[in-house]
């Protein structure tokens, strides 16, 4: 990755992320209310985006099933089950990552 490309990627990311955080302060400065459809989109979008990102993380599972795929799926299971019962973000991320690293190491 070239430096100008990296710089462009960083500037773009910062501008978009800060812009999104600041957007409501620009739009809703007065008493203006959010339109209903936007409210709906705001409720629906995050979980859909997160679902796509999970697929993104698991994209190489079918093509490399024996190498890293099955390990990834098992580790996802560890995260899901432990989080379902304990509801501790830190604990589940730690446990799942440790499980994945160990599975990769031993199998």
């Amino acid at each position: 990755m070239s430096t100008p490309m990296l710089a462009a990627a960083i500037v773009l990311s910062v501008a978009i992320t800060f812009g999104l955080r600041a957007l409501p302060f620009l739009i809703f400065s007065g008493e203006r209310k959010m339109p209903d459809w936007l409210q709906k989109l705001g409720e629906m979008l995050p979980s859909a985006i997160m679902a796509v990102l999970i697929i993104y993380c698991l994209k190489d599972v079918p093509s490399d099933f024996a190498g890293t795929g099955i390990q990834k799926l098992l580790a996802v299971l560890v995260v899901a089950v432990s989080y379902h019962f304990k509801r501790s973000t830190f604990f589940s991320i730690f446990l799942g990552t440790a499980a994945y690293m160990l599975l990769l190491y031993f199998f």
Partner: protein
């Protein structure tokens, strides 16, 4: 403007759960950045300026696979759009915070949102505590990033598989959203669009069409529902 010692103490206590997860995730982020070939100061710069864990992880894989600026921009836009909705919650609180307003806007994350949402305090203490939580969390994140990047350099072997913590983070956020959601259709639409686009476009270029497709579907679904 001066924040009292008691308020700092309260902010620290409130920020403890954030500290745990930021130290681990931030360190993992620093290690991944180092292993991808970025120096520690680039990792720190990103943690300071972009400061949104989930997207920073995705950005590493984008940078290392040479994704286009368009892909980066659209993904940032869609992934971080949730921050806009967090901001909405604090419109009135932040507006009163004068000079701190811009920093409060910049430092809003999933975690600080969750903690600052639950504060029930008189106005001055609430604002000071929110600021304290935001500043401390930002510092944990940056410190952990640098620690991870340095650690990654010191450890002679590769920490193979550390990148899984990005997957784990997404699974957890997804489960939280699943629990809160009144309808699971958006989540299932996301999974379906992701898988279908993966099959059609292949591993290296499916993320952009998948994100666009599912947000397009939800946009029209939302409009239709709002119109009814």
């Amino acid at each position: 403007m001066k924040i009292s010692k008691e308020t700092w103490r309260l902010a620290f206590v409130k920020s403890l759960p954030i500290m745990c997860s930021y130290f681990f995730l931030g360190a993992a982020y620093g290690i991944m950045m180092e292993e991808t070939g970025f120096p520690w100061y680039v990792a720190l710069l990103l943690s300071m300026t972009v400061y949104t864990g989930a997207f920073q992880f995705v950005l590493i894989t984008f940078l290392s696979t040479g994704a286009s600026l368009l892909t980066i921009a659209i993904t940032a836009l869609l992934m971080n759009s949730r921050q806009s909705f967090y901001s909405l919650t604090f419109l009135n609180d932040f507006k009163r915070m004068g000079k701190r307003k811009l920093y409060m806007i910049h430092s809003l994350t999933d975690e600080t949102y969750a903690v600052n949402c639950t504060l029930e305090l008189p106005r001055k203490e609430k604002e000071d505590t929110m600021f304290g939580v935001a500043l401390l969390s930002h510092c944990y994140w940056m410190a952990a990033t640098v620690a991870g990047a340095v650690l990654g350099q010191l450890i002679p072997f590769e920490l193979e598989g550390i990148d899984f913590c990005m997957t784990a983070l997404f699974v957890i956020i997804f489960m939280d959203q699943w629990k809160k959601a009144s309808s699971h259709i958006p989540a299932l639409a996301g999974l379906t669009c992701g898988i279908v686009c993966l099959l059609i476009f292949g591993q290296s270029s499916f993320i952009l069409p998948a994100l666009l497709l599912v947000s397009g579907i939800l946009f029209f679904a939302g409009r239709k529902e709002a119109a009814e």
